[in-house]
Amino acid sequence: MSKVLVKSFGCWPLTEDSETNGEDMKTFLDEVNERINGVPIQRCYHCRKCTAGCPLASVMEYNPNKIIKMIQLGMRDKVLGSSTIWLCASCETCITRCPNEVDIARMMDALREMAIVSGVGAREKNVLHFHEAFLANIRSNGRINETMMTVNYKLKSGDLFSDAAMGLSMFMKGKLALISPKTKDIQSVRGIFDKTKNA
């Protein structure tokens, strides 16, 4: 029904929600709440404690409190396409201090997952490249080999030369090994990746 409304009257900000969610009328807010599976983010009364304590707020495109407001306003594309969700370092200060127990850290996880699943991708491409290289390394060996994981990240990101001197120094100290012990039952680890794969 909202689709009709939007088409006839150009009613904003319903546009983003109604066009992306179609028939079931589930709003962006509903989707985020469903993924957080805890205190609904409507409980936020915008005291901005999350933002005051956030160590990355100063470099974020929208601070954590703004992201909550934007979700409430249904601004799906702007939220999922923002750098904020990739710059959150998951320090969990926000959830620790929120007087209403809104799990903002898990909200950021949920938004990143939604950005990947919906094909929006990551505004901070190298952050996602790092996660992909890290997870690919677990899938292949069961455990992280820091050398091979970093090489894989460098190939994905194209950032080949930063930290080269530091890497060499660590290698000389024996901190970066080319070969390290792997999980023997690797099939059980790969099974986890296959069965949790997002459609």
């Binding site: 993924r35 160590p55 990355l56 470099v59 710059l87 370092a89 998951s90 320090c91 969990e92 200060t93 959830i95 620790t96 799990d103 850290a105 996880d109 949920a110 990143r112 997952e113 901070e124 190298n126 952050v127 996602l128 490249h129 790092f130 996660h131 992909e132 890290f134 997870l135 677990i138 069961g142 455990r143 992280i144 080999n145 820091e146 050398t147 970093t150 990240y153 990101s157 930063s162 930290d163 530091m166 120094s169 660590m170 100290k173 024996g174 901190k175 970066l176 090994a177 390290s180 012990p181 999980t183 023997k184 039952d185 059980s188 680890v189 099974g191 986890i192 990746f193 069965k195 949790t196």
Partner: protein, 283 residues
């Protein structure tokens, strides 16, 4: 006492001095460590930042392996692994549908019967500060550390259930028992930006420089951590004009107890702590 041991990936690589010092101190305290059988990575930040079910299933595989043993305590020295294990247990204990889903993925039950514990907790509560103090053969006189807990041991508090989440004190007490002059500071639980250290180094350098500058302002001559991510980040990313030596707490406990190892572990650090430690006559 005998406990299970989950080293995690970094303790076999960039944090090998943490692995070696945890083992040396545990041996000296009569704690026998039995490695969790055929363990795999906990998934760390990369799993929970991109795929919630994966982030529960990866640690759950290890929890299930640990539950097969008679030993109910699992020592997890890495703060990141500790956090992921505790989070997985929390989610599985609070969401029955998720538990069923994860158990189906793993093909085995996860009952939540093991206790996930950081060595700070085991040393302070099971061994006790008096016993620890009694083992000191060389007091760390002149060493002025700040305790740096970072994020992952403490937050969120209802998941980690570890120490006071705004002003934790266990590590301060432990270092105090070793004879160190622990400096009070306000940055114990501030984030170092570890998860962005490779992908957004520019931001992380500023975060680390602030931490180290504040440690200096508090009168510290070193920083002490229990987290391989914090260690790698603070030890390697601080700018030349502010940097301070960074230690794993177990390295200092071993030093105070006169155990073998500290000299070789210190060589693995980026900021060489040897001049400080030797200058104080501790090495």
């Amino acid at each position: 006492m005998k406990v299970q041991y989950y080293p995690g990936c970094s303790l076999h690589g960039t944090a090998k001095e943490y692995d070696q010092s945890v083992k040396a101190v545990s041996r000296a305290l009569g704690i026998e460590l039995k490695e969790v059988e055929d363990w795999s990575c906990c998934g760390a930040t990369s799993a929970h930042a991109t795929n919630f079910r994966l982030s529960v299933a990866l640690p759950a595989r290890n929890l299930a392996a640990a539950e097969k043993s008679d030993l109910k305590d699992v020592m997890v020295p890495c703060a990141a692994c500790f956090n992921r294990f505790k989070s997985a247990q929390h989610h599985l204990g609070h969401d029955a549908a998720l538990k069923t889903d994860i158990e189906k993925i793993l093909g085995r039950k996860v009952e939540g019967t093991v206790s996930v514990r950081n060595p700070i907790d085991i040393f302070c509560k099971d061994i006790g500060l008096d016993t620890l103090e009694g083992k000191v053969t060389r007091k760390l006189t002149g060493l002025k550390p700040v305790s740096y807990y970072g994020c992952l041991l403490l937050r969120p508090p209802e998941v980690c259930q570890f120490d006071d989440y705004e002003n934790p004190v266990l590590l301060d007490k432990l270092l105090g028992a070793m004879g160190a002059d622990v400096r009070p500071w306000s940055y114990k639980t501030d984030c170092c930006g570890g998860s962005l250290t490779i992908s957004r180094t520019d931001i992380v350098i500023k975060m680390v420089d602030k931490l180290v500058s504040m440690a200096r302002e508090a009168g510290a001559n070193c920083i002490v951590t229990a987290c391989p991510v914090c260690m790698a980040n603070v030890d390697m990313r601080a700018s030349e004009n502010v940097r301070l030596p960074v230690f794993y707490f177990t390295e200092l406990v071993a030093l105070a107890m006169g155990l073998q190892g500290p000299a070789s572990w210190f060589k693995l650090h980026n900021v060489d702590p040897t001049p400080l430690v030797s200058g104080l006559g501790l090495l």
